[in-house]
Every structure is written in structure tokens, then in C-alpha cells.
């Protein structure tokens, strides 16, 4: 329930859409990909329906069928230009299983881990500084022309520069480990095609202390921005949800590998250290007629109670500790914010994101100082198998890649549950919360609508990655008369069956 006692569940679908006024926020800006929000309002400006729609369609799951399995890490990373490394590595982990490899060489695993920390560092820097900081620094109601990275550059040039250089450093880590800043190719079946040379290691070590220092500064800024309007920020788009992430076997934060862990909104463990290859026993996906994006949920809790959040908020809530000292101190402080429960404030995503950015910076230093990073044992092979599931913590959350191949090595089936898809229901709930709390009964203005976008941005959604349900997409077509009354309706359900009425 919200401040004005609206049940946000009622806002998914208006009871009687006839005569309601439609407001669209399109495109949703300062996010990756294309999406829109639609609001239906009655004559008193009461919000009756609020939905986040993803308006583009990708279809990777379909068109990779029939392709050779070893292409997957390079092919599927083209889903995204912001976090391709996460797709590259999730696919590579699945392909490792296809070639029968359970354990990479130390060098291969550490090069991949280094690549991934570079990825998360750059993505988090991009998201916080370039996309979200204008809202946080200037307020959601700042002038549109100023509420962007150019405005940050004008008012806080040092801060903007740090954001740009943090991202650049992460991109350099990716270039060194993957071969290119965007869409590299170094993770190959059973290993990597290159290690880090001593010269490359020294080059990256040259700036790492500065990066850690800026990481501390970014964390302090994120925290300060949350605390400066504490009550508003604590309650903004607040929803209580389950949390899902992978954790290392000993409960530590691990972005590259671990078992699945889920907690209820009060922090109780639902499951822990689940082998992610069995994800289908724990997570199901629901399709809805109005969105190209699927709605995953925890199977044991069902569709309505089983939705969950992933990403920095879930990871920092879920893990027992972080094995780098500065980030661990930040985690302890973060968790104290919730007095023993889980931190559920949606804007706390930004705070958790900067805890992780610092963890990445510390982790990069640790890996660069590890002698294995310049090793020469790069690849192993085993007996071929027909199924592989790779799971990784991408910047935006838990990312599942599942491939099945025939005996010739061609892909017969693929299932991708992309980070943003996991957050689909939560993002919809958050915008409904904002709509109910701040928009209801008021004449809409641009700053008010921007609050909807601020809620979406907190999740750092990657909308372009998230839509793949080719052929399974339910669809509804409605014929509406001048008064908005539905005259006729035809539909196709998730099994492809067409009906009327």
C-alpha cells in the first residue's frame, strides 16, 4: 500500500480503461535501449494503470539456433554495447560445459575475472556518473536542458572527469584482457586466447591507486546524495521484494561464479548455493500480453509473490561479506542502513552500485598483482556434452545463458534470462509506486514524469538485452470506439493459440 492507500498491484491493468486519458513517456531516456512508460489517468488525474514497455525486439534466442556452439561467446555479446563482456563470459561459461570443462586453468579464470571486473567498473561508472548523477545532483525537477552529463560537466567538472576516466580505465582493462574495448573475443571454449603481458599489467597498475581513490570518492558521493534528502530517498519507489544473486561458496560477494542465493524481503534465506545449472527448477518465466519482456519469478513462491530483484542492491544485501577491505567496510555501513533487514530502498541501488565499483577497483589491483595473470596455460578441453548453462553477475544483475547442442555441435535451443528481465516486475512495481505516491490527482508536469524515469534508472536497465520471446509472444488487438469502449478483441496466447472475445 502507498501513502494514499493505493494497492500498486491494481495499477498493472486498469479495471475499466474506457474514457481514461493516456500519457506516454517515450522514449525513457538515459537508459540503455528503448522503452516507454504508459499511464492511464481518469478525469481526476488518478492513475489507473502504469506500465513499463520494452518497444524493441531482438530475437537472439531464435536466430542462434543452427549456429556452431563455439561462436556463442562472440555472437551473443552483440546483444549489448554496454556490458558485452558479461554476455561474452556467461556464454563462455556455458560453452566450457559443452566442451566438458569444469575447471579452467588459473590463468584463464583470472584473466576472465579481471575482464569482468573491468566491465562492471566501467558500466557502473557510466551508469552513476553519466546517466543518473544529473538526477541525484540537481534534483529530478531541474531544468531538462541542464539535467544531463553536460550539465554535470559545467557545474562539477572534476566529478564528471572522474566519471569519464573511471569508465575509461574499465574499458582499458577490457581491451587488455579481451582484445578490444567493446566486443572482444578472448574467452574461448575451455579458456582464453591470451593472458596479460607484464607490460600490460604494469600499464594497468600505473593508475590503479588513483582509480581506487576515485572509487572511494564515488561511494562517498552516492551515500551523501542518499542522505541529503533521506526520507524522500528512503521511500522513493520503495517496494519490498525478494533478492536473488550468486554468492561464492563461503558467502562472499562474487561477480563471476558461485551458487544461487535468494532471500525473502525480510532477509530469510529461500535457497542458497543452488547449482545454477538447475536454474529451471527454481526460476520460471511468465509472459504478459502487453510486454515483449518476460516476467521471471521464484517457482516456490509462485507468480505473484515470487518476483525478485537482482543487481547491486540484491548482491550487497545477499552476500555475507566482501573480500576486499574498503568495499567490505562500505558493505557493513550499507547493511546497517536497514537495521538488520534488507535494504529495500530503490535509490539505494546507486549506493550499492558504488560499493561494487570500489570492490571492482580493489579486485582489479589484486588480480594484477597475482602472478597467474601473466601465465601461459590458457586452455583445457574435456568430453563434449549437449547442454551448458553459464551464469554470471552482470552489472545489472544475474545473467543466465543456457545452450543445448546436437551431436554435430550446432545450437538446437537457447534460453537467455537477462539481468534486466529479472527486474521487470520490480521496475513495474516501482513506477506504479511512484505514480501512486507523486502523480495521483495532480496535473502532470515533466519533472513529475521524470520521477518515473528516476525510478527506472535506479535499476540501470538494459532494455535492448531483454527481449527474446520470438514465437511465444502473446498479443492482444483491441478495437476501441470513440469513447474508448472496447468493441472487439482478438488475442494470441503464449502457446500461439488465437482466439476472440
Amino acid at each position: 500500500m502507498t501513502k494514499n492507500n493505493t494497492d500498486i498491484e491494481d495499477l498493472e491493468t486498469a479495471q475499466d480503461p474506457a474514457g481514461l486519458r493516456r500519457v506516454e513517456i517515450e522514449p525513457v531516456t538515459r537508459v540503455e535501449g528503448h522503452g516507454k512508460v504508459t499511464l492511464l489517468l481518469d478525469e481526476d488525474n488518478q492513475v489507473k494503470q502504469a506500465r513499463l514497455h520494452i518497444t524493441e525486439f531482438r530475437g537472439f534466442e531464435k536466430f542462434i539456433q543452427g549456429r556452431p556452439y563455439w561462436e556463442m561467446p562472440v555472437l551473443v555479446q552483440r546483444l549489448c554495447g554496454i556490458c558485452p563482456v558479461s554476455h561474452h563470459l556467461a556464454a563462455a561459461k556455458a560453452v566450457d560445459q559443452l566442451v566438458g570443462v569444469e575447471q579452467l586453468t588459473p590463468t584463464a579464470e583470472k584473466v576472465r575475472r579481471l575482464m569482468h571486473l573491468g566491465q562492471v567498473l566501467q558500466s557502473h561508472a557510466l551508469h552513476f556518473f553519466h546517466l543518473s548523477s544529473p538526477d541525484l545532483l540537481f534534483g529530478y525537477d531541474d531544468a531538462v536542458a541542464h539535467r544531463n552529463i553536460i550539465g554535470v560537466l559545467a557545474d562539477h567538472p572534476d566529478l564528471a572527469k572522474q566519471g569519464v576516466l573511471l569508465r575509461k580505465y574499465g574499458q582499458e582493462v577490457i581491451r587488455v584482457t579481451a582484445g578490444k574495448r567493446v566486443h572482444g573475443n578472448s574467452a574461448i571454449p575451455g579458456g582464453v586466447n591470451k593472458a596479460v603481458s607484464p607490460e600490460e599489467r604494469d600499464y594497468l597498475l600505473g593508475d590503479i591507486e588513483q582509480i581506487i581513490q576515485w572509487g572511494q570518492g564515488a561511494l562517498a558521493l552516492a551515500k551523501k546524495l542518499i542522505f541529503q534528502e533521506l526520507e524522500y530517498n528512503r521511500n522513493f519507489a520503495l517496494i519490498d521484494t525478494n533478492m536473488l544473486s550468486i554468492c561464492r561458496e563461503d558467502g562472499a560477494l562474487d561477480l563471476y561464479h558461485g551458487g544461487l542465493r535468494a532471500r525473502t524481503p525480510d532477509g530469510t534465506l529461500i535457497f542458497d548455493q543452488v547449482d545454477y545449472r538447475n536454474y529451471g527448477d527454481y526460476i520460471h518465466e511468465q509472459v504478459k500480453s502487453w510486454s515483449y519482456m518476460k516476467f521471471p519469478y521464484l517457482r516456490s513462491l509462485g507468480q505473484s509473490d515470487g518476483s525478485y530483484r537482482v543487481g547491486p542492491l540484491a548482491r550487497i544485501n545477499n552476500c555475507d561479506y566482501i573480500d576486499t577491505p574498503l568495499a567490505e567496510a562500505a558493505r557493513v555501513e550499507f547493511r546497517a542502513f536497514a537495521d538488520g533487514g534488507l535494504v529495500q530502498s530503490t535509490l539505494a541501488y546507486h549506493w550499492a552500485r558504488m560499493v561494487e565499483l570500489l570492490y571492482c577497483a580493489e579486485g582489479i589491483k589484486r588480480l594484477l598483482l597475482d602472478p597467474d595473470i601473466t601465465g601461459t596455460e590458457l586452455k583445457v578441453r574435456g568430453e563434449m556434452r549437449n547442454k551448458g548453462v553459464g551464469v554470471i553477475e552482470a552489472p545489472r544483475g544475474t545473467l543466465f545463458h543456457h545452450y543445448e547442442i546436437d551431436d554435430d555441435g550446432l545450437v538446437t535451443r537457447a534460453n537467455l534470462i537477462v539481468s534486466t528481465t529479472n527486474n521487470n516486475r520490480a521496475m513495474n512495481q516501482s513506477i506504479r509506486q511512484v505514480a501512486a505516491d507523486y502523480l495521483n490527482g495532480r496535473e502532470l508536469t515533466e519533472p513529475m514524469l521524470n520521477q518515473i524515469e528516476v525510478a527506472i534508472r535506479a535499476y540501470d536497465p538494459c532494455l535492448s538485452c531483454a527481449t527474446h520471446a520470438l514465437g511465444k509472444m502473446p498479443l492482444e488487438l483491441e478495437l476501441v470506439d470513440a469513447d474508448g469502449a472496447v468493441v472487439d478483441r482478438i488475442y494470441k496466447n503464449g502457446r500461439g493459440e488465437v482466439g476472440e472475445g
Binding site: 566442451v99 591470451k194 554435430d408
Partner: protein
Amino acid sequence: MSGQFIIDHKPVPFEPGQTIMDAAMAAGIYIPHLCHNPEFHPHASCKLCTVKINGRPASACTTQAAEGAVVESETDELMDDRRILLKMLFVEGNHVCPACEKSGRCQLQAVAYYCNMLAPEFTHFYPQRDVDASHPDMVIDFNRCILCNLCVRASRDVDGKDVFAISGRGIGSHLIISSPSGRLGDSAFDAEDKAAQVCPVGAIMLKHQGYDVPIGQRLYDQEPVSVVGDVAKYVVKKHDQ
């Protein structure tokens, strides 16, 4: 008796029996080509090596060098023609460089870069073609075949197997495999065959691997095809002799 002709204002010596392509390669002068490979009898089907000899267009790979001939190769007109031929090749098949394991060491891609083809111009055909992965060690992706005929020549002339042939006519031309099922796995093809080594694009590839060479170390990452392509091999071979 040796002689000399001119390519783009540069004198090129030749031996009797040499084609313009042979003599140019021996002199270290690159003429764009795809279906030609100096190890095989010339085929003159890709038409990329079309030059003007004393003002008349002809394929450099099949035309005998002649004393005093004036050959134009890298003129604006001929390079425009080459770009059009390349653009047609790119839209006729499904050449997805971003995901192709041959990228960086693909002759089609390298020649396109050399000829300054920066973007596709024509409407993509997006043909529906198969990937044949029935062989234990090799895979054929027909999406990438440019009908250069090199595998046909290699299998017939070097391997003595006749595994490959071009079937159909005109735009319906396509590579076929000599086996009872038409599948590669049922043919006499072997990964050690010469025909397994000559594909200039990513159509005939080793199975279970790809991307093994890091970006930056692939054949065409550092130098263009005019420097490190078969023209370089040819010059080295001549030198060794």
C-alpha cells in the same frame, strides 16, 4: 626471354608464360583478387583482378604478360568497380563479420578494407543457407561461400578426391559435396586435405575452435592484404628459390 610491362606507371619484369598477376606478385605489386591463389591454376571468376591492358579490361590472373603492355590497376574507375563487386558479394551471402571466427584473417574482409569498402550499399539477400557440421573435424557454413572455386580446385587437383563442385547456374550457383547424402560427414574429406586449407573466407573451417588468435595478432590486424596476403608469400617463395 624476359620482358617488361608497366602497371600504374611502374615497370614490372616478367618471364615468358607469366600472367600479369604472376609478374605483379613476383614484383611485390598487389592486384586485388579473391578466387586467385598462386598455388592453383587461375580461374578468373571473381573479376576483382580486372585491370585495363592497353585500355581494354581483362582479368590479370589469366592474361599473359606482354612486352611493353600498359596496365592500369588502381585507377578510380577500376577501384569503383571492385567496390561494387565486393558489395555484391557481401549482400549475396550472409557475411556477419562481427561474429565470424575468420574476422581479422578473412581475405574477403581484408580485400574490402583494401578497396575502401566502408559499408554495404545494396539490399541484403539474406539467403537461407545451411551449416553442415556433420564432419567430425570440419564444418562448412554455406552462408559465407563466395564460389571462388578454390576448394573445388584443391580437392580435384591436389587431394585427388573431387569432394566439392559448383552446381546450378547464375545466381542459383552453389557449392555441393560429393557424397551419398550430400553431407560433408559422408564424403572423403579430411582436415589434412589441401581443400581444408584454402578457403579465403569463413566457409570451410576447423570444428570446435575459433577465435584462438587474439585480436591484434590475426593476419590482417597489423598490415593490409597488399602487404601480408599471398603477395607476401609469393615474394618469399621466389626469394627462397
